[in-house]
Symmetry: C2
Subunit: 139 residues, 2 copies
DNA sequence: GTAATAACTTTCATAATGCAAGTAAAAATC
DNA sequence: GATTTTTACTTGCATTATGAAAGTTATTAC
């Protein structure tokens, strides 16, 4: 696992790992759309290129942000799941969404509002709910 | 103007704007180190290249995340400051720092802990304090 | 007047991304 | 059992972004 950290700063170190335009979108799709296979990720709204998707899945697995597994009786489809490290990206993603909701009104259509409204009034409750749901999905 | 946004998603839209390895570090330095000039940003721990710094300052200004101004009697030094839109990136940055604190223990030395400890127990209070401090700086 | 400083810009090499097409194994269909 | 489809990639190549270093211009300090 070759990790090139620019400094000892916790902010720059996180950006060294997930500071790109695609990694958090894969995590988003796992969290909120229940996506777990390569082809599901490949069909995202933002049209990620397959080589980039492949590269990011490999990196996220190396970083232990996601796991790669199989289902019994299926040797073909890879099932990706969030590790604890990956699940804990949720608060970051929610803050990003809320910032956009507050500051990108010129661009975001009303379709984006309902998502943010789900947690805006009770963020901590929403997070705990999501964590519980993550557990259920595994069990 | 080039197509800036990949989709209507608030998460991907934010990443379209600040989803790179440098933008948030400039904001970090403005928030926590009181940096406000080109040369101050240029001296960061992470050694940003001057062409990238120039590019990011221009972009952040175009996005109205920062303002560019001068001090009276000085035609040379540019003074950069955070807009409201920029200040509101604080919660994102704090969540990123906390994620690193929780999940990058192998890499982060103890030097990174004190920063996170400042807000870990009372994040909302810390944020409000910082917002108040931002106001004071503007005078 | 000369030197130093601040804020860039330019050049060029390297790395990352994007697009299209191709591949291989497994699974589904006929 | 053979053929088609699906899944998960890989490869090649053009474009774009980044990184390192040196150069430029205006301003300020000495």
């Amino acid at each position: 696992m070759k990790q090139k950290f620019r400094s000892n700063c916790p902010i720059s170190s996180a950006l060294d790992l997930i500071g790109d335009k695609w990694s958090l979108l894969i995590i988003r799709d796992m969290m909120f759309s229940g996506k777990k296979t390569y082809s599901e990720f490949s069909n995202s709204n933002e049209k990620i290129a397959t080589n980039i998707l492949s590269n990011r899945l490999t990196m996220l697995e190396e970083l232990e942000i996601i796991n790669k597994g199989k289902l019994e009786g299926n040797k073909k489809t890879n099932i990706y799941s969030l590790t604890q490290k990956g699940k804990e990206l949720l608060p970051i993603i929610l803050e990003i969404a809320q910032w956009s909701d507050n500051n990108l009104n010129d661009h975001l259509q009303d379709g984006a509002k309902p998502f943010v409204n789900k947690f805006k009034s009770n963020k901590e409750g929403f997070i705990q709910n999501m964590y519980a749901r993550f557990e259920k999905q595994e069990g």
